[in-house]
Symmetry: C2
Subunit: 217 residues, 2 copies
Amino acid sequence: MHSISEENYIKAIYHLQEGQALVSTNDIAGRMKTKASSVTDMLKKLADKKLAEYIPYKGARLTENGVLCANQIIRKHRLWEVFLVEKLDFSWDEVHDVAEQLEHIQSPKLTNELDKFLNYPKHDPHGDPIPDSKGNYEKYTQVALGDLEIGQQGVLTGVVNTSRDFLRYLDKHEIKLGAQIQLLEIEEFDGSCRVKSDGRELYISKQTVESLFVKIK
Amino acid sequence: MHSISEENYIKAIYHLQEGQALVSTNDIAGRMKTKASSVTDMLKKLADKKLAEYIPYKGARLTENGVLCANQIIRKHRLWEVFLVEKLDFSWDEVHDVAEQLEHIQSPKLTNELDKFLNYPKHDPHGDPIPDSKGNYEKYTQVALGDLEIGQQGVLTGVVNTSRDFLRYLDKHEIKLGAQIQLLEIEEFDGSCRVKSDGRELYISKQTVESLFVKIK
DNA sequence: ACTAATTTTTAGGTTTGCCTAAAAATAGAT
DNA sequence: ATCTATTTTTAGGCAAACCTAAAAATTAGT
Ligand SMILES: [Mn+2]
Ligand SMILES: [Mn+2]
Ligand SMILES: [Mn+2]
Ligand SMILES: [Mn+2]
């Protein structure tokens, strides 16, 4: 199988290649917090294993096989996050580092039994979709909260930023995934917004507005 | 912290040093399925880290710190085994390889929440005791089933041998941990036994008798 | 006690994944 | 088009964990 290091690179490339035709060595280095030279080493290895296409000096992109592999890792990561929050009383800002380890456990039976035990959840605690055992997942149209029209409403489905501080901030203000949310007003001056969520009216900063995704029907 | 490799050596030494004053390089190599030279390398490293005392040409033994560390790994291993059997429908002969990976996940919170979620189990699916968060565990006197007196009875508490074949054999003959078991007769010829378990009388081989532990009051 | 067999260590080598520093390629600015 | 800044690769090295083969120490047999 693949080493933990290989898996972490695969996941990083997967997340970076959305939209992009090719992902640059430097971008991967940034996300992995390693040096560009280490990335080059790994890209050659992933290309050898037919998990990525690699064009020297141009960049890389996962092959079909690489994408499949990425989906399995992401599936495990997100299932474990659900487990930690739903069964073990972790809060959603505590799960990431542990899931980062658990995603590398190799046992298809474990993954599938966990999925069953959790009742085949479709989304993780941060609102991100969970691929099924074949790698398929629901892609609904998400829009940044700030891109709604004034008065338009949607369901809060995800967060862009999963920093501890940001998740704690949301908890403190009782902003929860799944809540109905309506954009009432955008302040020209600083980009902050007035929104209505579950009946309550609240003011949130420009930064927060840009970090929240909503699903619109 | 400690690498996965270090942890596996610590666990191996822990299991081997029961009774023994010092564990030999060769014994460790045997259990770890590595070469003696690799063991020597690791023993030096564990000694540097004050996890083991190592006397060249004589052998090694865990320090107090090493034992503490072993207990934590074993605690995690056995808690995950309980989880797999009780919550995810694994059978007791399928859990070992996965637990071998899960035991290395680093998160004290995860371990303790898992313990709580499982209702603080005292024994794993093979009857082995689970250390608590301080490393203490219940040591009751277990006796090999074959060492009972004729007519004496006890509660089946554990298995020595956790090979797949053996565990499947026990399942097939419905020999279950926790069952009351009485030794009725030992056959001089081949050492096989007649026992009564949960009312049923059955014949079991010498090898099986030696692989089963019972608790006597 | 001496020799032979066994055990253990040392020496030297490999692979994986990382690093720094230098060289080469590419992209950007005038 | 040329020069400059940035990006990327190469070269060479290091640590962890493994290996084989040879040397050294220990143990066992007589
Ligand atoms: Mn990871
Ligand atoms: Mn998540
Ligand atoms: Mn292990
Ligand atoms: Mn067990």
